[in-house]
């Protein structure tokens, strides 16, 4: 197996991961909410009349602000995808549909759910990881299933 171990990348990953974890703890201890982006986004767009849109909007705006600030500090920059719009649209549809049906994404299930030792999150993480690996295997290496 060809492993591309880049120390700088790993260190950045650790620092970023610690920040993400910390942000989740902050949201939970103060506001009692799970920092699951798919849930926050869908709750914002498809509010069930509970009047809980405001904090979600603020969180996502904060997310974009934090991303912009970190990018400007030239620590790292969100690289842009080079794929065609049709592919991006297809990917978006699958991610949106899948995260709602599956009640979570990498932050909700991965960072938060696993921390709660949720068996649902464990199952979800195993599954989306497996399908992620499989999809790349097919798309990048032409593995025919």
């Amino acid at each position: 197996m060809d492993i591309a171990f880049d120390l700088s990348s790993v260190l950045h990953g650790v620092v970023g991961g610690l920040l993400i974890g910390f942000s989740a703890v902050v949201l939970l201890v103060f506001n009692g909410r799970i920092a699951g982006i798919s849930g926050i986004l869908s709750g914002l767009v498809f509010d069930r009349g509970t009047g809980e849109r405001a904090w979600r909007l603020l969180f996502l705006m904060g997310l974009m602000a934090g991303a912009a600030i970190a990018s400007h500090m030239a620590v790292s920059e969100p690289a842009l995808s080079t794929q065609k719009w049709s592919v991006l649209a297809g990917a978006g549809l699958l991610v949106g549909f899948g995260t709602r049906l599956g009640s979570g994404c990498t932050s909700g299930h991965g960072i938060c759910g696993l921390a709660r030792f949720s068996k649902r999150s464990f199952a979800a993480v195993m599954t989306f990881m497996a399908f992620g690996f499989l999809t790349v295997l097919v798309m990048r290496h032409g593995v025919m299933l």
């Binding site: 991303a67 995808s81 932050s107 199952a123």
Partner: protein
């Protein structure tokens, strides 16, 4: 205070996403590419995140409630059901196609790239489609147990 916390948490999260490299789809795809040049970074991101949330959540849950709220808003559904697995499978597939999950997709909007706008709009459309599905059949919780 709650709005302030929401904003602050979001800022930390967004900064964390960028710093960790998770807003770079090629880095994410590099992790998912087991047969190619494997990039382990994502594993370190998730590992570090858990390093904080595992003890952090444990400590927080010992409290009666959050600081500025009356209760913890946590999922009520406990069973691993078909919806969860099928949803995760579909999500994982979409993730493997472009290397974006919801967080990085939102973060990437700050680049004002139309491709990212297309992805996010499609993402929301996908969510809308899921909202059209009938509710979960259990009496324990509704389709969206997380308010």
């Amino acid at each position: 205070m709650k709005p302030l916390i929401a904003s602050l948490s979001g800022i930390l999260f967004g900064a964390g996403l960028v710093i960790s490299g998770m807003t770079d789809p090629f880095k994410v795809l590099g992790f998912l590419d087991l047969a190619g040049r494997w990039d382990p970074t994502l594993a370190f991101v998730m590992g570090s995140g858990l390093l904080v949330t595992v003890p952090g959540f444990w400590l927080v849950r010992r409290r009666v409630g959050p600081v500025f709220e009356t209760k913890f808003y946590l999922p009520t559904v406990k069973d691993v059901d078909t919806r969860l697995l099928v949803g995760a499978a579909i999500f994982g597939t979409g993730w493997g196609v472009a290397g974006f999950c919801p967080g990085p997709a939102i973060a990437s909007l700050v680049r004002f790239d139309l491709g990212m706008v297309v992805l996010v709009i499609a993402l929301i459309a996908g969510m809308a489609l899921a909202e059209l599905l009938p509710e979960r059949r259990t009496s324990l919780g509704s389709n969206n147990d997380l308010v």
